[in-house]
Symmetry: C2
Subunit: 454 residues, 2 copies
């Protein structure tokens, strides 16, 4: 009768420290390499782009890092976020599985992204930074950083991937409401952008290109501006662990433990933040949860890429990072999940995948939207197209349980809502969405051009 | 340091009964009149449109009415909703006032509307109804009823005011995701719609016209379809009291009591649901809270209308209701707050206003958006254009406190988010929003045509 639906922690239970998986890795992360010297980079190499506090977090081996009080003070505006038992979805599927979702779409910007945006804005402001540049795909990250910068009185310049800029005009409006300036990328305002436009005036853009533009603007600002990245880097994964740490407590409230945890991956931050505290439980406390990263067949970095050193951006402005990559010159097909259109993947996620500690799967666009609509009809919440990848795989796992009769506990990260993505739902309903397959030739070309580093 | 931001009740504290103000009114509500006989209507007159359970609630004098368990079961998906202390807004304004907002935008449909949509769908299904018709302005109500009908396996036909249909295409997509059919109103599918189109082929529509269309479809369906209204009626106000009952408990948690409570009014339901339990405290327990209903200058029913008998719809298909009205043939200016474009007002709200138990104020469009942007920048949440009317007046009250130095407790209902309304923010930013004033001549014309009933 009065079945519990939501597991809501009191405000006092917001985690007060982030969890740093680097302290517990069975092997350390491969170093980040300077493309000129081919030697591991040091803090000075990153200082033009990031404040020292974030550079320190990037390489920290401390297991727990305190969340600063001004960051916690803002987290309290929407955290802790709910963990919800998807009883109606379970019934709609007829599965014996217990399905739970962590709902990060309750943040004001609509996704998990503010967890790191607020932290990054805080550390930048603390070191006197008054302007930040960044890129955004679907606009989830751009709106989160715009919001955070507004709270810390920092100017924010966003390079938004052109295809998403066109697909999602209201994400741009949202960023402008928070006071940010937004430029469609590739643009003619940077060398990196102009170089792409010369090759292809109609380029839909990509996260890799937008990163180049934002990095260039910061790097050439004479110290006036720094750069902020919404995923991929270790400090971003760190900040997102506030999500998983809450889920640890919420699963205790529910008196269950995850058999499988699922998140979508583009750069990897919502997945990592969600699962890392449970990876710790596997590594340190003998637990045995499976972790599944879900990517689009259009950008299958984990499932089809190579684990090699590559640039983080298309314009080759970043250091070389060892990651599963499709090649930095790879331009992903214009899927609606703009936040997943990235050629690489977070080094931490790649390392865990390489060590066999997590799994990965790639899914095409139409089955993803089919799952999103099924979820929306059952649970009322419209998932972002990125998030819908996790929904697809959660439903697939639940359907396997239906076949096997297993009462598995399936927990996924509903990382963001799709309120600004309804045009993609319209496209799905009219049957006009292509199911992009793994673009073998294009990936082969892009990978062939990579620097050879042992 | 660790200042409390959110007052979140446990799931077990969701109110289990709605509060019926009719039990405590100092004078009873004026009866609803049959336009043919000019006699008070009885249950049989309403039976073609509503299930008996809702007709009974419409006239009930019971102080508390139990919320059915299947309705509570769905409420638990998002209720209780948070009460949030707007500390950042207070700082931005430099006011000594304590500002709180009840955030109903956390429901899956994005507003308070599901509180009654779920209840209405439940009672209809319980009496064997398998199809409902309704109207919607901004689309908040239409999406809520679409969602609720989907959960109870009821077909849902929505007539959406044409200007909102054009302003807010993604609200339509949302309703379609929940399986509803959506028609722009006035349409050529009904006599009422065709009559309007003959007079004005470019009619932007209004809630009054869309109600006529939806009522006509139900009334002429031979019993196959019933009709559902998202505001105005007593049973809708009743269902919305779950909001105010939560606020009663949350103010206790905060150890404060409201000096003034503020809500926007179109039909009156979010305002009524929010304040009625506190009106009870004024009437029964000697409290002294002020209640301010905020309407647009474009449709100032309370502040400029007459308290007379009028039709609830433009096509004169409903009974005659005593309310503050601008006249049923009044076509409101195309403001972006589509949910407030109604010529009349809930009889309960009108009665309280007539008795001097609540206040009302009208505000123009641009100052409303100015307040919305100020609020969004401070608190991160984008208010719906309707809701932004309440934000404007809450800020005005807080600024008065700044002048007087008073530490008043101001509580307003943030009834919905504006994620589907970003086009209106764009229009505000580009300076193209007109500030419609009170349309004196037009109201005079529309009021002159009313039936004369003592």
């Amino acid at each position: 009768m009065s079945e519990q639906k939501k597991y809501v922690l009191p405000e006092s239970e917001i985690p007060t420290s982030w969890y740093n998986i680097q302290a517990d890795l069975p092997e350390p992360l491969p170093p980040v390499i300077h493309p000129g010297t081919l030697q591991p980079i040091g803090p000075d190499d990153l200082a033009p782009l990031f404040p020292m506090a974030l550079i320190a977090q990037e390489v920290s081996q401390e297991r727990y890092i305190d969340i600063p009080e001004p960051v916690l003070d803002i987290y309290r505006m929407w955290r802790p976020t709910p963990l919800i038992r998807a009883t109606r979805l379970e019934k709609a599927l007829g599965t014996p599985a217990h399905i739970y979702y962590k709902y990060e779409g309750t943040s004001p910007a609509g996704s998990h992204k503010p967890n790191t945006a607020v932290a990054q804005a805080f550390y930048n402001k603390a070191e006197g930074v008054n302007a930040l540049t960044t890129e955004t795909g679907a606009g989830q990250w751009g709106s989160a950083l715009s919001m955070a910068c507004n709270w810390f009185d920092i100017e924010c310049e966003v390079y938004m991937v052109k295809i998403s800029y066109q697909h999602k005009p209201y994400r741009r409006s949202l960023m402008q409401t928070f006071g940010a300036s937004v430029t469609a990328s590739p643009s003619d305002t940077t060398n990196a952008g102009r170089a792409i436009l010369e090759q292809d005036a109609d380029s839909p853009g990509s996260l890799g290109i937008a990163i180049s533009e934002a990095v260039e603007v910061a790097a050439t600002s004479g110290g006036a501006k720094k750069y902020s990245l919404g995923s991929v880097l270790n400090h971003v994964m760190l900040h997102q662990t506030v999500v998983g740490e809450e889920v640890v407590k919420q699963m205790e409230m529910a008196d269950e433990y995850p058999d499988v945890m699922i998140g979508c991956v583009g750069g990897g931050s919502n997945f990592a933040g969600f699962v890392l505290p449970f990876v710790r439980e596997n590594l340190v406390n003998g637990k045995n949860t499976r972790f599944v990263a879900v990517e689009p067949t259009a950008t299958p970095s984990l499932t089809k890429g190579q684990y090699v050193y590559d640039f983080g951006d298309t314009g080759q402005m970043t250091p070389l990072i060892k990651m599963y990559t499709l090649g930095h010159s790879f331009i992903p097909a214009p899927i609606h999940a703009g936040g997943l259109r990235y050629h690489g993947m977070a080094p931490i996620v790649c390392h865990l995948y390489d060590l066999g500690l997590i799994e990965a799967v790639a899914v095409p666009q139409n089955p993803v939207f089919e799952a999103a609509v099924l979820f929306a009809q059952a649970e009322g919440i419209i998932p972002a197209p990125e998030t819908a990848h996790a929904v697809r795989t959660a439903i697939d796992e639940a359907l396997l349980c239906k076949e096997s009769g297993e009462e598995k506990v399936i927990v996924f990260n509903l990382s963001g809502h799709g309120h600004f993505d309804m045009a993609s739902y319209d496209a799905y309903f009219t049957g006009t969405l292509p199911d992009y397959e793994y673009p073998e030739d294009e990936v082969e070309r892009a990978l062939a051009g990579l620097p050879q580093i042992a």
